[in-house]
Symmetry: D2
Subunit: 188 residues, 4 copies
């Protein structure tokens, strides 16, 4: 089953990271088959599931402290037989993590503390990809990353869908005009 | 070597499809390891190389009628040992193609003719992803796709990079404000 | 009473031209006190009322073929004592118009026919400002204007409102993402 | 002479406020003939000159502490016989100002101090319009305005110009993608 069809069937409990933003994370990190990914918080699992599909036989380990959210995703990954995601019901900031990763994706409050803690879990040349709805979060995480000499870039994208018929072509009048800012940081 | 590092070393002869647009194609098609992709025109090879990295052990077959463009990419894929791309120096509209594909990506004049011709080369549930700089191209390809009952969507994205320091946070003042419209069409 | 407070009290029957687009028309034409403006269709009257406020003692003559729309505006301009707007309940394409104008604003189907007909009603150095929701309308009106050697420019603007608090600063998540394209053409 | 033609002939010493942003200020404040406007800093004078053209017989008083900037504008307003602008070569934060205004426009560092000081110079129902290139400036001025119970709104606009021919219609590929954020605040 195509991963985009799986995502349509997942119950969205907290807000999800949209395809447009997942696409940026993939395009700016070059995430590849075989990579191991650390993710937090799992949320509704969209990003973890999308990445798991690409990194096979690599693995995605995803932390979520909210039990309801975590169990929703666990149920769905069982149902859709996604075997390379491990959900850990725990606050990543308090977890003991020993593995090393190629990519660490963060969509959580306190991402600035997480990048400091997880710096040692990121392989050389690996990436943090941090999703921040607010500017204040962007500033906090950028500051933390730059103190550790990461090469960073922050981007946002506005995606418009167009209605196209033989007579009338125009962007759809209303829609989502902001989701989050994405900070990509590489350990150089 | 990370695919994004490879792309930095490729000579850009014709204009390339940017990461922001490659990301949309990936996110909206769910392209996965094992998929076989047909691509035309190769251009500087950015999209073909990015997709090849994800679809391994699947393969990308890419048509380019301009010999100089094609040889530039052939040289680079040899150098970087990318083994799952095959460049065919030929006009895709005149080529005899018998294989079936999961995804067909088009960045070429005459994409509306190409989708008609290649409809039989696309597997059921597979996707066309068409990159069109102009509205007229969008209209032509949408019309062709809808006559064949494809499920289509056309999107564009505006990506802004932000400058972030402790004192000054703002989008970079100038930059790219339009690349192309992306039409995603699924064979349902 | 401030014109923006008046606009809040006007009944919106057909869709209105938003302040962001009215602002572009003003900024790109330099509409000034004393100018005479021809407008069609009146619609809910937002543009006519906004311009009338600026051009005093100049005048706005606004054509609207839909009687209900026209009467709604007539009622409101009486109520708010706006004396320099004249609403004419007639199809501008069929009307006999002898006056000359500094600015002609069009938000109507068939704007491409209107610019041809009204060319003789526009003073030298005057402007057409045409509001077109669809690309096809933009193309038709641009073609008509360029045949008459107008200096033309077509623009669109995406306005985002930001939520700003001491802790959370971000664009509002959803909103209007397309209204219309604005073509400004000068008779040179 | 049309105000937009005058602006084309003004020497741009510091960066100017662009028409797209001037348009928003006009559209969101409803600035009208007869209004008196206070402006700081004058910069290259674009905003002051545009507003002066609309508010006649009202007046624009504009403060600029940089002598070179101020003299550039003084020279041009003499040349173009704009009689309702008064340039005062002084730091507005240190100036003694006794007049009352309908609109106060600020494009300067320290706008958050200026709104506090100038609160008493703004008439009831009048507006501040503050232009801020950086988010930090937006936050500082919003905070100051909200402490004084102003009704505030912060907006930004992205304007794209379209190339339109019979065959190729598309936004121009590169251009200005950020100028400033505009905060409109009303004394209620």
């Amino acid at each position: 089953m195509n991963v985009i069809d799986i995502l349509k069937k997942i119950k969205r409990i907290p807000q999800v990271i949209l395809p447009k933003d997942i696409g940026l994370i993939i395009a700016y990190t070059g995430v590849s088959p075989g990579w191991n990914v650390l993710d937090s918080g799992t949320g509704s699992g969209f990003l973890a599931i999308f990445l798991a599909n690409i990194v096979k036989p690599g693995k995605v380990i995803s932390y979520e402290k909210n039990k309801e959210y975590a169990e929703n995703v666990i149920e769905h990954i069982k149902k859709f037989k996604i075997e390379n995601i491990e959900i850990r019901i725990e606050n990543i900031l308090k977890a003991e993590i020993t593995e090393k990763f190629d990519l660490i994706t963060l969509d959580m409050k306190g991402a600035e503390a997480a990048v400091k803690k997880l710096n040692e879990n990121l392989k050389s040349n690996g990436f943090f990809a941090v999703y921040s709805p607010h500017i204040e979060q962007v500033k906090a995480v950028r500051s933390a990353l730059e103190k550790m000499n990461y090469e960073t870039k922050t981007i946002e994208n506005i995606v418009r869908e167009w209605k196209v018929t033989s007579k009338y072509t125009h962007p759809r009048p209303s829609g989502i005009i902001h989701t989050g800012f994405i900070t990509i940081a590489r350990k150089v």
